[in-house]
Point group: none
């Protein structure tokens, strides 16, 4: 079960990286890499018709992003496994990748030997990811457990109704300074720096 040849496709816009990866993987026993695409569009057009087990997907593609491409392909071919590759890990793209169906999330500086191990892990139903990435995922989920205090949630809800500092303050009998402090804390907790994004994020996470 663990030693069948795994068929891999690569989607990566950088020519050097793409070719290097292809050579490394295809040259390794138990791995085959006959297909590589420089963009999401060509991958979407072809991959569904190929006998592929695992796709290595760059996130930062020109045109359709790796996330969009993964969303599309995972829907077409649910049995396909996707490992996202990226230069740096940011919370949003990790989270989005997981949402659209990626199974693994690796940084591009992962060394070749490890990469092969991780591909096999995914093939066998695992979800390889670096410890930094894992940490961020934990953090993301923690955010889903409402990080806001009751008071903060109350204030945020009022902001979402279009109320200003002062209006909120008079409404709940606080000094406008206090309201401001609450808002600043809300921004910090949600990792945003203005009202618009705070409300968007809070709504998306069903916090309000």
């Amino acid at each position: 079960m663990t030693n069948e040849t795994i068929h891999i496709a690569i989607v990566e816009d950088d020519n050097d990286i793409r070719q290097t990866l292809t050579l490394i993987i295809d040259g390794s026993k138990g791995f085959s890499c006959k297909y590589a695409f420089p963009d999401g569009e060509s991958a979407m057009a072809s991959i569904a018709n190929l006998l592929i087990d695992v796709v290595l997907m760059d996130i930062d593609l020109p045109g359709k992003s790796g996330i969009e491409t993964t969303r599309y392909l995972k829907q077409k071919c649910p049995q396909l496994d996707f490992i996202m590759l990226t230069v740096q890990s940011d919370d949003d793209s990790i989270f989005e990748s997981l949402c659209v169906g990626a199974s693994g999330y690796l940084l591009k500086d992962t060394n070749p030997a490890d990469l092969l191990v991780h591909i096999r892990e995914v093939y066998n139903g695992g979800s390889p990811m670096s410890s930094q990435v894992a940490r961020r995922i934990i953090n993301s989920f923690r955010i889903i457990e409402n990080p806001l205090s009751d008071r903060e949630t109350e204030v945020l809800k009022m902001l979402s109704k279009g109320m200003s500092y002062k209006e909120v303050a008079t409404d709940i009998f606080l000094s406008p300074h206090t309201v401001k402090t609450h808002i600043k804390n809300i921004y910090a907790k949600l990792h945003v720096n203005n009202r618009a994004e705070a409300i968007y994020k809070a709504f998306k996470q069903k916090l309000i």
Copy 2:
């Protein structure tokens, strides 16, 4: 076509209601009701294997809700029709029911004769619902008609990411004045007068 026997299953936690409904339906010519479940879990385990045409689904079930149960079963058996039953009608549950694939939405005080009529309506491709329910649906959908132009939607989405006038402007190659004008028009159309409320409303109405 309209007089075949319709095979019905009931999912309802209240023993009295479940047994009464079963008796009424199974005792009526052209209707058969041999299966009744007290909760979503048991329904999910069995209904897919039964020869059933229409499911009467209580919304307020203990454990898995009627909506969750419907989502699961509709996915497994797309040909199955679901009529949601509820004591009172609230916008959210109506809307969610429709989203997960329910065909009808009736209040529990619907009288037995009407209920049978409605079951046959669903079986024949209709969507029975009380006039209050219909009104609410109309209202929900009416809001869905996006009043915003493409450009305005684009701008609003960018605002929801926390971008300022200027950032939006440089991003889509417009003068900040133009962006400001768009935003003013957005506020007017959504009947709000600031960013926070605009994003909240737009999100609630799935405009962004």
